[in-house]
Symmetry: C3
Subunit: 265 residues, 3 copies
């Protein structure tokens, strides 16, 4: 549990200079907001999920985001095909196991995807606990456990799978099983807007696509959305305007504001 050496100073400008093509297989609820968040941080998003084309597309992308928010059998097959194609091409990918503990279908799908070696797994506490095989107690897509209570489980999951694991909540934790970073940014308003966790996952995917190591990508991604959320909440009159202001804040955020605002330890 040492402090990470990762320096955020040039993270966002590096991401924007590289403008990575990010392949998303994500849920219907967040496709628009996730694509706009990726554009705002300087990535080039593409939503591609057909079994007929995912294996052609993943290798030309710089990173792949797999999010199980709205599942169906053809999409699960496409997720697996895309993950395999990404692995074969050396393209890093991130898994968002939305509501992993809610149904047997989600538990099984999460298990199959984790076995395909994502570079990063990001979820709320209930989701990470479910993916680790423990009883989750989640409430649909919402967590009923604190991120702090899941930090030990996250470390074990990281060691077992080789993935960097990010648990988001009041404080976010990123761990590779050895090191753990805590990111104390964000705002409770993030829990009042659908898909902000999915957006965090996508932004981590953008950093992966820009060449950051998985641990650094997760820290940078969570700091980026967290600092942006703190700016956005000041411009918002509720969750509707917060969702809009969050995209604006991500777009306007620069290296200096990110480094000044990030509370990473």
């Amino acid at each position: 549990m040492t402090t990470p050496a990762f320096d955020l100073t040039a993270a966002l400008s590096t991401l924007r200079a590289r403008n990575p093509l990010v392949h998303n297989i994500t849920n219907y609820v967040v496709m628009n907001t996730t694509a706009n968040a990726l554009l705002a941080v300087g990535a080039s998003p593409a939503m591609v999920h057909a079994g007929e084309e995912v294996a052609d597309f993943a290798p030309i992308a710089a990173a792949l985001v797999v999010n199980i928010g709205t599942l169906s059998a053809p999409w699960v097959s496409a997720m697996i095909a895309a993950a395999n194609a990404a692995n074969n091409a050396g393209v890093p990918w991130i898994l968002d196991p939305v509501a992993a503990g809610a149904t047997p279908f989600r538990r099984e799908t999460s298990r199959r995807l984790v076995a395909l070696k994502p570079a990063v797994i990001r979820g709320n506490a209930s989701e990470i606990i479910a993916v680790a095989g423990d009883s989750s107690g989640g409430k649909g897509v919402d967590s009923t456990a604190s991120s702090e209570s899941a930090a030990d489980t996250a470390r074990r999951l990281a060691r077992d799978t080789g993935a960097v694991v990010a648990v988001t909540g009041k404080v976010d934790y990123v761990t590779d099983g050895q090191r753990t970073a805590a990111i104390a940014n964000g705002d409770v308003m993030l829990t009042r807007v659908t898909g902000t966790g999915c957006t965090a996952t996508a932004i981590i995917g953008a950093y992966l696509g820009a060449g950051f190591a998985p641990f650094d990508a997760a820290v940078a991604g969570l700091a980026t959305i967290g600092v942006a959320a703190e700016i956005a909440v000041k411009e918002a009159r509720g969750p509707g305007s917060f969702q809009v202001a969050l995209i604006d804040a991500l777009y306007r955020l620069d290296d200096a504001a990110l480094a000044a605002g990030a509370r990473v330890s």
Copy 2:
């Protein structure tokens, strides 16, 4: 056509205290805005539509929302499986027969779903007329009839099916076949934003999930979105900002503002 006894005084605070998990099988167009509206009124939304999991998920939810806006054969099967699972578990559900009269596929799907005994059916005038088996004359998803002209049809549909029927329009009508309430809230701007009817349906679903009786849930839900729309339109410069302001207004609305603004008779 007696005046309903339902008292809105503590409706929203009760809904928020209970924070019901609402299972939605709804259309692609509105998933994001519907989820955000449910969060804004204090519910916990989940969008789950796979045949592999709907029957596992519906029983753990507090209410189920079925909306046929963007149909396909696998989704129809999932809607039926979810409705059956909800019924078996005593979970109330609401049907939104979007564009019910537009195609034979929609008429047939609506007929099959109505036969599964939703607690509430909400639609515009053309949709309610189509569900009742009369010629509808709708224009795609838009109504070509007034809600007033459909009030008698709604009462008959309620008596025939046992559902509470809500017809929305300039004035909204809620009926169980005996009692009828009229809600004279809202704004014409609601017709300039896609999916506001779907959002009304989802909010009624949230009240159902919080334990309100179907008639009361429908009255409370329509008053809630109607009063919020009146607040939102004052903050909007057009339908784009109105859609955002509506979520903000739903979030900020409280018992006092709802009771003061509601025009229920």
Copy 3:
């Protein structure tokens, strides 16, 4: 390459007076924003994609929009069925070949749809080059070529297919193979929001549905979104608020503002 004779003076008021029902088979990412843009310009949008109903729905619509942004095999079949039904009923349709060059599946789907004689094809430079059978060099859904460099290809594609071809970029070009119009409206912020190209396509579809000839519909549609974007960017603090302000601007735009702002040559 003569200047088009088309006069925008009454375009928007004509569209609003006719309130055309526009059938969309479009991608998940933009369904909400596209529907709202269509409502804002005065059309009545419907999103209908099931194989069971597209052939019933297309003939009752005034125009059909086919957008391949998020493809899958059942949707391709539905697109083909809808295009055939539209053709048989004399309903004009427009094709948006999103990321046409990115995968073999998209190239093949685009080829099949172009063969079904759309009235208009709208894409960015890489997409139009890919549809014309040349090497595209696109980056996912984004273009790597300028619209100017694709103008000759567009003319050839128009002559080969009989469609009016619109290439959008810094300057937009509309051609029927003989005449070419250039529309120099818009703002770079349009490239920072997902789906603005899809929205342009849908608005052209609305003009088609209002009875405009394909060439005139394309010019009017691109001028409409371009002028609205110039208004919206002044109200925006970033791409989030720009997306919202664009819908507001489309809604508030009138004949006089359109004619005054349009730079068509």
